[in-house]
């Protein structure tokens, strides 16, 4: 076609990005890659091929790391870690800065490699993935620089095992490696088997930056290699990938006491109100679900449109879809590239095949091979499988809603909770809906916005932990200093005879603001040190847990109460406890056979005051994301927290767990000290007289080991904590894998009387939600 014909047809024509330099880099490395361990590439071992999904051509051969490779990588990381930490934040800042600079200098090489390996359009790798990866290293170079002054009590975890997916090979590496290195950790990272090249090129960059050997180690291969990393002696596992694998990792690491960050799947709602800029909302969908072919964990894949504009909106959407260009990912005018592998493509096709609804496929011709057309399935209901299941492809499903509250209900009717978009020109609507959405990230009038300064991560089965910003550093550091000795169970005192009480007292469970007899109808005798009978403590069973959780979920209004009001309630509890200080001190002393009852009561009152003080001060922040707008990191309560209280300090332990949790708006199900339960049953009388709404605090007594599985597995519990003397770690962490609830099992003993910093409790009691609000009159 000559200029004259094109002058008439006005077609785009081909605009290919040259792949020569990237292919030359592969060839220069021999097109056969070993692992990167201790600063050098190992000899290639057992090999597999990595292909360009757009044309099926083999790009290189990659090593399937052996168990010995993984062990060597962990060993190298272990050996390098003390030196890397000792280098200091400022030294590490220089190294991270060098990595950022080198990523920038070689930006086109990385972009082309990424597109060759993954099949995503060059526009995306060039304009989004690679610049964001650079930004992550720059941002965290700054975090390293500031670590000693701004986080004086933090230190590295040690060796971090990191497993990343194939959809953003370099960017996910950056999200994992940059914060880990900044805090003084060393890493063993496994890229996804389909997309190893960016990580291997990054290894090359690490050499050029003069990074000490062993600080970054890269082992390649399939899921078996990932399992070996998870099974290794590492101090942390960070994983981004499917919910299914995340759950397996949670189960596999249960009881090992290593922190996890899991960034998993999603079915993120994209809510369009009738007063939205509909054309912009349609364009937003292009970036929500057709960005990287919808192979994005936070893809806006579930469209909810207000009924009155649904017809018009869907018309506009279909017209826009028909303009999308599908084809060679290296072409600069392509919107949708290749699906990462034929297996994935077949999976997507099968899911769409089985769906009802009105299916519209983009009009553009779909090239032969590993391509799938942008697809809309309209007219579905929440009951349809594809409204619930993650497709992980360029397929959008849609339904309608009537009111803002119904939009929230439908949006939250999902196992996942990664991201959400809200489109409305009404600030009242948008800012009312955003905090109500079960999601770690909410974009107002936008979608898929990311920045190193703004935390990213999910709730529910989308995982836990945050990446980016100050909040993300928590996942790669721990409080400095020696930990306590392993906590030991305390045995209850034994006795024989039953002494008659002047007037028999009946301790009960406390559920939903009412005293309740245990469902099982059993109680155990509680004796003092000398074997004298103090009374009977009810033995709660699984049904009591069920009832308590139901009551706690019913007390949602507590989360909506103002922080000032929650503080007032906490002060009131403190006041009423202080008024009965002597009785509680005596009760504690008799139960424990100690003499610290008075101190314990005093510390409890103090703890309540501290929590009340924090209630309206544990703020979020505005992240400095590069846009005109606000990227706000909000602090939200987790929801319902189930907690096993420490054996020792039966009053103070319970108050220390309860107070920070309810200060932030959580509701709690507390399982009282197993050996000394009867002070907890006195404590509910204090709650009763302190304006604590029913269901906010629920108190059970019973055997921790028996109750742990039920509480940990309960699907309507958002977090479970344990400070019990009984070793519940494995039980709780395995149980938590079910709905991927957050868990915090503290197996080291604490000096409860001396606890000064409530922040770790407040962190555990809150979720960070990033709300992006771009603006412009």
């Amino acid at each position: 076609m000559g200029v004259k014909e094109i002058f008439e047809s006005m077609e785009y024509g081909p605009a290919p990005e040259a792949a020569g330099d990237a292919l030359a880099w592969i060839t220069d490395q021999g097109a056969r890659f070993g692992c990167f361990i201790d600063g050098a590439f190992t000899k290639p071992g057992e090999m597999f091929e990595t292909r360009n999904p757009a044309n099926g051509e083999v790009l290189a051969e990659i090593t399937q790391a052996s168990a010995a490779d993984v062990a060597a990588a962990v060993k190298a990381a272990r050996a390098a870690q003390p030196g890397w930490a000792k280098l200091g934040g400022k030294g590490r800042a220089r190294a991270l800065y060098a990595l950022a600079r080198l990523l920038q200098k070689h930006s086109r090489l990385f972009a082309v490699l990424e597109t060759l390996d993954n099949g995503k359009p060059i526009r995306e790798s060039r304009d989004i993935d690679i610049p964001l990866a650079q930004r992550h290293f720059y941002h965290h170079a700054g975090m390293a620089q500031l670590m000693e002054t701004e986080l004086p009590d933090a230190e590295a975890l040690g060796v971090c095992g990191q497993i990343i997916p194939w959809n953003f090979p370099l960017l996910m590496l950056a999200w994992k490696v940059a914060p880990a290195l900044a805090m003084g950790n060393t890493v063993v990272l496994k890229p996804a088997e389909w997309t190893s090249l960016a990580a291997l090129c990054f290894a090359d960059i690490c050499r050029q930056a003069g990074l000490p050997g062993g600080v970054v180690n890269i082992v390649t291969g399939d899921g078996a290699v990932g399992e070996q990393i998870v099974g290794s002696e590492v101090d942390k596992i960070a994983f981004t990938g499917s919910t299914e694998v995340g759950r397996r990792i949670r189960t596999a690491t249960a009881g090992r006491g290593i922190p996890l960050t899991l960034e998993l799947g999603g079915k993120s709602p994209y809510i369009v109100f009738e007063d939205a800029d509909l054309d912009s909302a349609v364009e937003g969908l292009v970036d929500a679900i057709w960005f990287n072919g919808g192979q994005v964990c936070c893809a806006g894949s579930r469209l909810l449109v207000q009924e009155g504009v649904s017809g018009l909106f869907h018309d506009k959407l279909r017209a826009r879809m028909d303009k999308l260009r599908i084809g060679d990912p290296l072409d600069k005018s392509i919107d949708v590239g290749a699906i990462v592998s034929p297996e994935q493509r077949a999976r997507i096709a099968a899911l769409v095949e089985g769906s009802r609804g009105e299916i519209h496929r983009a009009a553009a011709p779909v090239p032969e091979g590993c391509f799938y057309p942008p697809t809309l399935i309209a007219g579905l209901s929440p009951a349809d499988a594809l409204m619930q299941d993650e497709i992980f492809g360029p397929v959008l499903v849609s339904t309608t809603f009537r009111t803002p509250s119904e939009a929230v209900e439908i949006a939250n009717d999902t196992r996942y909770g990664l991201a959400a978009s809200v489109w409305s020109e009404n600030i009242n609507t948008a800012l009312d809906v955003a905090p109500k959405l079960a999601a770690g990230v909410v974009w107002v009038n936008g979608t898929n916005m990311f920045d190193a300064a703004a935390p990213f991560g999910g709730v529910r089965e989308s995982g836990f932990g945050r990446e980016g910003g100050w909040e993300g550093l928590l996942a790669y550091s721990k409080p400095r200093g020696k930990r306590g000795k392993p906590v030991q169970p305390i045995a209850a005192f034994q006795g024989k005879e039953a002494e008659p009480q002047a007037v028999d007292r009946t301790a009960k469970l406390y559920i939903g603001g009412k005293q309740a007899r245990p469902d099982g109808g059993y109680a155990r005798n509680v004796y003092d040190k000398r074997g004298g009978l103090i009374g009977q403590a009810p033995i709660a069973n699984r049904k009591d847990i069920r009832n308590a959780v139901e009551a706690a979920q019913g007390a949602k209004a507590w989360a909506g109460a103002s922080a000032h009001n929650r503080a007032q309630v906490l002060y009131y509890i403190a006041e009423n406890l202080a008024a009965r200080a002597d009785a509680f001190a005596a009760s504690v002393d008799r139960l424990t056979g100690g003499k610290t009852g008075a101190k314990e009561v005093e510390a409890s009152v103090d703890r309540l005051f501290t929590a009340a003080a924090w209630a309206d001060k544990f703020d979020g922040r505005v992240a400095q994301a590069p846009m005109r707008g606000l990227a706000v990191a909000l602090r939200e309560p987790c929801g319902v927290i189930g907690a096993f209280c420490p054996d020792e300090m039966p009053l103070l332990g319970l108050v220390s767990v309860m107070a920070p949790a309810i200060a932030l708006g959580n509701r709690v199900v507390l399982v009282a000290s197993e050996p000394f339960p009867l002070v907890a049953t006195d404590f509910y009388q204090v709650l009763d007289t302190s304006d604590v709404p029913g269901g906010v605090v629920n108190i059970l007594t019973g055997r921790h080991a028996e109750l742990a599985p039920t509480l940990a597995q309960h699907m309507d519990v958002e977090a479970v904590w344990s400070f019990s003397g009984t070793d519940l770690a494995a039980e709780i962490e395995r149980g938590a894998a079910g709905n991927l609830k957050r868990s915090w099992v503290d197996t080291k003993s604490r000096n409860w009387l001396a606890e000064s910093d409530m922040r770790p409790f407040l962190e555990a009691a809150s979720e960070v939600k990033s709300v992006w609000v771009p603006y412009g009159a």
């Binding site: 000559g2 939205a276 054309d279 005018s333």
Partner: protein, 336 residues
Amino acid sequence: MEQVDSVQDTDTALGQAQLPQTLEARNPGVPLDMDWVMRARANRSAIERRAATLPGRRSVKKDHQAAWMARAISCMDLTTLAGDDTEGRVRRLCAKALQPVRADLLAALELGGLTTGAVCVYHDMIGTAVDALQGSGLPVAAVSTGFPAGLSPMHLRLMEIEESVKAGAEEIDIVISRRRVLTGDWQGLYDEMRAYREACGPAHVKAILATGELGTLQNVARASLVCMMAGSDFIKTSTGKESVNATLPVSLVMIRAIRDYHQRTGFRVGYKPAGGISKAKDAVSYLALIKEELGDRWLRPDLFRFGASSLLGDIERQLEHHVTGAYSAGWRHAMA
């Protein structure tokens, strides 16, 4: 709505493909629909994001690039609107409009006969321009209605239109009263535009919104709709005299309004970004924006114009580079 009826069938076949709606029915306008106007929304951040990423999403290379740049020339209103315009200056401009690119380059591109879309001048220069363009088929456009502020007495503005049409202008670029937009007087804007349209008679009317003075993109969206409802053949961004002239975000808002108007009424209204477009690369981005948001039908001079004076020079250099492979120099191309 007698006004609608009165203008409905005044379209005359002028015979030039450059002229708006000579290929299909002119936009007769529709009654002012305030519900529709007030529903128009324009989210500035989202619109800016779309505009900012568009040049990275579409790229044309080699022959395609040359063809697209030639298309930009064919859609150009070659313009001179200066106080020191003289007959000689306008004749030079017209000559350039008829031979916008060196003949040998056009021959190499097989695009001999390529002209700009029109020539755009002040009223006093219409006669000269009509004379200079005699027989070429190129229309003369005249800015009118007290351009650029549009604040002269209404009856004089209408008379100015009539005089210009009488003098041979086939396109009239009117300026709207910004104050009607800024005070939300949509009925007033509608009536004013209707009156202009009527005064134009067979000449086609382009409504200059002066978007740089409308304050918000939402106002741009609403003013675009009102002007189309009142029978504009084209909507145009700027006079070139505001501090901010054509931009991609403003263009996006206006062409989305054009798209909505076409979808609801079936009438195609043209679009003219003016001022501030001086690079060939920018012109290609504008064409891509039109292609993406409105469709190929709008990539013709009857529905799309650039209001530009220095853009042509850059395109000429790029075309010579395309033909010879060597970067060009300004003095190798004839000045306007």
